[in-house]
């Protein structure tokens, strides 16, 4: 059989397990990852020379982390591994990558995108102040650098990561001023039947909540964020939220970890022209994939958080399954039994995922209530009021038109952190269902290139 040129983007749980399956089939895939080291987000590694044990970094997931790191160490000599390399475009069967000033186009027969996710953010007035970090960023400061983001930290938002990161901060000796969850507690009870699809994970979640309360941390649920207070000069000084009873509570702090669960990194799928579908439950657009990870475009496979937020175990299963699907499609013998087993595992994890998004919903109603002067785009300080104006005065009720008029999504982050909220603001202002507003389309380069790379953009 002719050499199969298969590329995996991402060396997190999904990418590593995909790579492993390809190597087991006798191939030598290319693995592209922007990070200095493998591991992805959850199993992110600390730099060489740091001494904390895996149990300190990964808690209950230390064994899984160790296994994934070991697997990749064994795979390294058998693959074309390219760390610190950004995959920035896809065109005509080639993946464009850049490392430092070195740019290259890699032709592929099959491409497995396991690019992970970033925090999903609903803005709060003042979230552009210094000292506000994404929840994921707050965790990276601790996990990869042994630092807290401030002396008094408030965690605000919703989702499992809110409790996890807060608990990790407390364990590491940081001072946590409060945990403020926008989701009302009773939603967790309603979501219980689905959450019971993974009783072990559910118990770990309950243990986190308990750890925080036992440590004397205020955990307030069903809150409505009012503002992150402070000054342009000094940054964050407090967080105000309205409690379910109507009382406004202000909590002094010098740092905020903010996030509402995750959004998939879909730019590469977009550049490969994969079809997307609107997921009404999470109110976001997701690339279409079949049960085994095939996108709508032949030869493009999507796995892990970059298609659906299944968490680390789901990412490992989906990564392996996508690789098996790619192998099968290219005429390799694969075990149908194993594929069926993985599909079943993923279906169970997906049921749990649905439970999580019911228990910790994206607080979309908050978009309509943002004051006109609330910054929606941090990159270029575009406010909710400006967005509403382009929707009502210019009739720009499709997101890419609203982008052209307002520049929302054109800044440094290319819409990663404002895109979902901007869509909600425009939809609410125009009185349209969210799916009619559309989504920001991914564009090349997926991230700003080093100036020195000097590549000609399409």
């Amino acid at each position: 059989m002719a050499e199969d040129r298969i590329i995996v983007v991402g060396a997190g749980p999904a990418g590593v397990r995909a790579t492993e399956a390809l190597v087991q089939a006798g191939l030598r895939p290319s693995v592209i990852d922007e990070g200095q080291r493998d591991g992805g987000q959850i199993y992110r590694r600390q730099p060489e020379g740091f001494l904390r044990a895996k149990s300190e970094l990964y808690g209950t997931e230390a064994d899984r982390a160790a296994k994934l790191h070991e697997t990749f160490a064994h795979l390294k000599p058998k693959i074309d591994y390219r760390p610190e390399t950004l995959a920035w475009n896809i065109s005509e069967g080639s993946l464009h990558v850049v490392r430092g000033a070195q740019s290259e186009a890699l032709a592929y027969d099959a491409l497995i995108v396991a690019a992970g996710a970033t925090d999903r953010i609903m803005p709060v007035r003042g979230w552009n102040r210094a000292g506000v970090y994404s929840l994921g960023g707050s965790q990276i400061a601790l996990k990869a650098q042994a630092c807290a983001i401030g002396r008094q930290v408030v965690f605000l938002g919703s989702g499992p990561l809110l409790y996890l990161v807060a608990s990790q901060y407390v364990k590491a000796g940081a001072s946590v001023a409060a945990v403020l969850d926008t989701a009302p507690r009773q939603l967790r009870v309603k979501a219980l039947p689905k959450l019971l699809a993974r009783p072990d994970v559910l118990l770990k979640g309950i243990a986190l909540d308990r750890h925080l309360r036992r440590s004397g941390i205020d955990v307030l649920t069903g809150v409505h964020p009012v503002a992150i207070e402070g000054s342009d000069e000094r940054g964050v000084e407090a967080v105000s939220v309205r409690l379910p009873g109507g009382e406004v509570r202000t909590i002094a702090c010098d740092a905020v970890g903010l996030g509402h669960h995750l959004r998939p990194e879909t730019q590469l799928a977009d550049l490969a022209r994969c079809a997307f579908r609107f997921d009404a439950q999470t109110r976001q657009w997701q690339p279409e994939v079949d049960a085994e990870g095939r996108s709508s475009v032949k030869g493009i496979y999507l796995a892990g958080d970059s298609s659906r937020t299944l968490g680390a175990d789901g990412a490992e299963a989906a990564g392996r399954l996508a690789a098996l699907a790619a192998l099968k499609d290219r005429g390799h013998a694969v075990s149908a039994n194993e594929m069926a087993r993985l599909t079943k595992t993923i279906a169970r994890i997906d049921r749990f995922r649905q439970g999580i998004s019911e228990a910790f919903p994206w607080p979309h109603q908050a978009a309509a209530e943002l004051s006109d002067d609330t910054v929606v785009c941090r990159c270029e300080c575009i406010t909710a009021g400006e967005l509403r104006a382009v929707a009502s005065e210019k009739g720009a009720t499709e997101l890419n038109r609203a982008k052209a008029f307002s520049r929302v999504g054109m800044g440094r982050c290319q819409g990663r952190y404002c895109g979902h909220a901007a869509a909600e603001v425009v939809a609410a202002a125009a009185g349209l269902p969210l799916e009619q507003v559309g989504r920001l389309r991914g564009q090349a380069p997926v991230k700003p290139l080093p100036v020195a790379a000097g590549v000609a953009l399409p």
């Binding site: 210094a130 960023g137 990869a144 042994a146 401030g150 940054g235």
Partner: protein, 103 residues
């Protein structure tokens, strides 16, 4: 000025000297540039859109809020750049600073 970040461990690393806009500073081997700067001071830069100090956001190379510059004009993404001994960091692109002095 005290730092925005708080070190909670891993203190037993070699110190590295660097500078921020010409002011001497120090970090530890293994620090990212962002962490080294924010252990010295409370910001990375001032927003070009007039809303004050900025100190990064995602720490994972996604938001691009943390750009700093080397004296030779190279743009550095502080959260994914490792601190090196003797680095001389500017919080504004060198061209712009020069313009400011000239105007």
């Amino acid at each position: 000025m005290t730092g925005r970040f708080v070190r909670l461990g891993e203190l037993d690393r070699a110190p590295l000297a660097f500078s921020i806009d010409g002011e001497p500073a120090s970090g530890l081997e293994g620090d990212t540039l962002l962490v080294a700067v924010l252990n010295q001071t409370d910001r990375l830069r001032v927003s070009e859109f007039g809303d004050g100090a900025r100190s990064g956001f995602c720490l994972m190379g996604a938001c691009q809020d943390c750009w700093l510059w080397s004296e030779s004009g190279e743009r550095l993404r502080a959260c994914t750049t490792s601190l090196e001994d003797g680095m001389r960091i500017l919080t504004q692109a060198p061209g712009r600073e020069w313009l400011k002095i000239a105007s």
